[in-house]
């Protein structure tokens, strides 16, 4: 796979353009014309030029904040790229992402992340989508010249990223699933300011490949031909179904971590030696020696690149910033409320069976729907996915290693790649293991890309106190999620709602977290086929004296308390929110305007809970109308205890709700 003369000249042009853009940006920052935090890729041009030339245009790339060289080499046009770097409306993400978050799907650039290592699980998900996309279909168009087969996903990252869990989880998952991924480590000798020898004991990053049963190769990352050959070979293996390869390209970061880094931690002799081997000049000499360039033709390329870089940067600096209307655009899809077709009525069933039914229906209706999670091809921990693998195949109902970051990251990547993934994280308490993927990636990628990369995925997760399973398997954390713009949060209370809301989540264009409270799973009820859009609350019991605003399992507790109060002449309205984000504010306001009293009830601890948001919102809108302060009822502020009596005491039982209702009824001002 040796590159020909045209490819060599092309790679020289790419390297020269990268160096020219870097020079233009550093000059503009020095002059105070541009004010970005800039992570120079100078010194790493050969890696980018090498892999860029080895790939097909439709191959995917996932890169990092030190990514301009990768972006240029993959074919991202200069004007929107530089415009994004300086926050202009014409930027790749309309100026809303910034230099750390450039994407350009037309060139296969699906993600640039500012979080070290986080791109790797997402790359695995993109590769899964490509693998599925290719299953049974011949390679598309331009593929023939560089080998038929599925798109390859290149995950580009630094040596510093190889110490973070995301690297290990993604490498393992990609190997287990034989995904068409090339893990390309640009080993530039430093993780931020820490030298390679101080952050790992292995002599080469590539040695780590053995731990995952994949090939690992180390090449001279300052030689674009060596990188080209290694990546072309790895890509060919990936397309042939042989799975991932870890390619380590050893290079050097000539301008430190970030613009302004004085590199005081670097031995001056080491830096001087690195400049001696600077890849662009080295490759120029080589091509002139080989007769592929002359001094004049090389100088002409350099002049043209310099003019393009400075000219384009100067142009984009003159462009306007995004308009004020952009601040709330692209947070979520505009297509709300989403209409899901009605399903057939299904008679009486449990919440568990209703969820299974919704998953089964989605898998049957849409080939893009895939499930992933731990043990799901068997039954899943609560039996929710029972029978689905047998019916729809284990490649669509796919077991994962115990790797929450990889599960959620792969779902994000699969969604970027055109699938409709439904991921399962066994317990909500484990969200901490994958919150970066959910909160920094799933939630933000639509916004940061100006709408180019939506993430239509569902995360199902089980939770619930009252089962005596202790503090690490019980805690309702919906407030964490509702706090992050871009995520939707859904908590069903009945079988019918569970089926309809899950269908709405799967059809939604945004990431939805679907919370399955374990104590509810066995609860039975009728299941009709009426669709339930997200953001539409439901009055589960009408009343005129006080509104209990609640969701999930507590809906039933509230209804029971309401029934107990009715003989005493107190009529309690129970409003089931069904989704916290989007929130049906109108329904809350309408109800409390009538009853003039509100109690907010949830299973999560009161402190910092979603109830605080509801109580504040009700007070803001209806302050003059309220007959009593809004009270909150939730769990006591302690980790959920194990012993049965203590657990019951910590959770918000009927007694505390009753007390709160009586208090607001008795209150007069």
């Amino acid at each position: 796979m040796t590159p020909g003369g045209d490819t060599l000249r092309h790679m020289f042009g790419t390297m020269t353009l990268i160096a020219a853009c870097d020079d233009a940006l550093r000059s503009a920052i020095s002059a105070g014309e541009a004010t970005l935090s800039y992570y120079s890729p100078r010194g790493q041009e050969a890696v980018a030029a090498g892999f860029g030339a080895a790939l097909r245009p439709d191959d995917y790339l996932v890169t990092t904040y030190r990514g301009m060289h990768d972006q240029i080499a993959k074919g991202v046009p200069l004007r929107p790229l530089l415009a994004e770097m300086v926050g202009r409306a014409e930027g790749t993400g309309k100026g809303k992402g910034g230099p750390m978050h450039v994407v350009w799907p037309d060139a296969g650039l699906m993600l640039t992340t500012g979080v070290v290592g986080s791109g790797l699980p997402i790359a695995a998900g993109l590769a899964w989508a490509a693998q599925r996309d290719h299953a049974g279909a011949p390679a598309a168009g331009s593929g023939a010249a560089r080998g038929a087969g599925p798109r390859v996903t290149v995950a580009s990252f630094g040596d510093g990223a190889t110490n973070i869990g995301a690297f290990h989880e993604a490498a393992n998952l990609a190997a287990v699933w034989r995904l068409p991924v090339v893990f390309l480590c640009q080993n530039n000798g430093y993780g931020e300011h820490t030298a390679f020898a101080d952050h790992q004991r292995t002599a080469h990053v590539a040695q780590r490949a053995a731990a995952y049963g994949m090939p690992g190769v180390t090449v001279d990352g300052n030689d674009p031909v060596a990188v080209y050959e290694a990546v072309a070979e790895a890509a060919a293996q990936a397309r042939a179904g042989e799975g991932p390869t870890l390619v380590e390209a050893v290079t050097y970061r000539l301008f430190g971590h970030v613009f302004g880094d004085r590199m005081a931690y670097v031995d001056p002799a080491e830096l001087a030696a690195a400049w001696e081997h600077e890849p662009v000049a080295r490759f120029r000499r080589r091509l002139i020696e080989q007769g592929l360039l002359t001094e004049e033709s090389a100088a002409e390329v350099e002049a043209r690149c310099a003019a393009r870089a400075t000219g384009t940067l100067s142009e984009v600096l003159g462009l306007p910033e995004p308009g004020a209307d952009e601040v709330l655009t692209d947070v979520v899809s505009r297509s709300l409320p989403l209409t899901v077709p009605a399903s057939a009525p299904a008679g009486d069933m449990s919440v568990r069976s209703a969820i299974t039914l919704a998953l089964d229906e989605a898998l049957s209706a849409d080939d893009r729907v895939v499930l992933l999670g731990e043990d799901i091809s068997d039954t899943g921990v609560f039996g929710v996915t029972k029978g689905l693998a047998a019916k729809h195949g284990r490649d669509r109902v796919r077991d994962t290693p115990i790797s929450e970051q990889a599960i959620v990251g792969a779902a994000v990547g699969a969604a970027l790649g055109g699938l409709r993934p439904v991921a399962e994280v066994m317990f909500m308490d484990f969200l901490g293991l994958c919150l970066d993927q959910l909160a920094n990636h799933a939630a933000k990628l639509r916004y940061m890309s100006g709408g180019l990369t939506p993430v239509p995925m569902v995360l199902r997760t089980a939770v619930g106190g009252g089962l005596q399973v202790g503090a690490q398997h019980s805690q309702m954390l919906e407030a964490w999620l509702a706090h992050v713009p871009g995520l939707k949060v859904v908590v069903p209370s009945t079988p019918s709602d569970a089926r309809a809301l899950l269908a709405s989540c799967i059809a939604d264009e945004d990431p939805c977290v679907f919370i399955e409270q374990v104590p509810l799973l066995a609860r039975k009820g009728p299941v009709d086929g009426t669709p339930v859009p997200l953001g539409v609350a439901d009055v589960k019991r009408p009343g005129s004296d006080v509104t209990v605003v609640t969701y999930g399992r507590q809906v039933h507790e509230a209804v029971a308390v309401a029934e107990a109060l009715a003989p005493r002449g107190v009529e309690v309205e129970v409003l089931d929110l069904r989704s916290l984000v989007p929130l049906d504010e109108a329904a809350v306001v309408d109800s409390v305007r009538r009853t003039r009293r509100a109690v907010v009830l949830h299973e999560a601890v009161v402190t910092g809970g979603f109830g605080a948001e509801l109580a504040a919102g009700i007070s803001e809108v209806l302050f003059d109308r309220l007959a009593a302060p809004v009270l909150r009822v939730g769990a006591l502020p302690a980790p959920l205890p194990y012993a049965k009596g203590l657990e019951r005491l910590a959770l918000p039982g009927p007694d505390r709700l009753l007390e709160a209702i009586e208090w607001v009824i008795a209150f007069s001002r």
Binding site: S350, R352, V381, F382, L467, V518, P519, A522
Partner: protein
Amino acid sequence: MLLRLPKIGMEMTEAVLARWLVDDGAVVAKGQALYEMETDKVTNEVDAPVAGRVRLTAREGETYQVGDPVAEIGP
């Protein structure tokens, strides 16, 4: 010894006693399967915790709560 319906797994609160695997009055060995119980999620066999003569008190097809007596084992 009174045998009660066990809790198997995190969320189980009740189960159907699906089938007795021994006859009333049979002498069973410790570890021998006594009955099958079914929850929404799975079917489990429940073993004799001690050896002895078993007296079956629960009925096949009935739903029992965790902790409900289902049988006795005596000498």
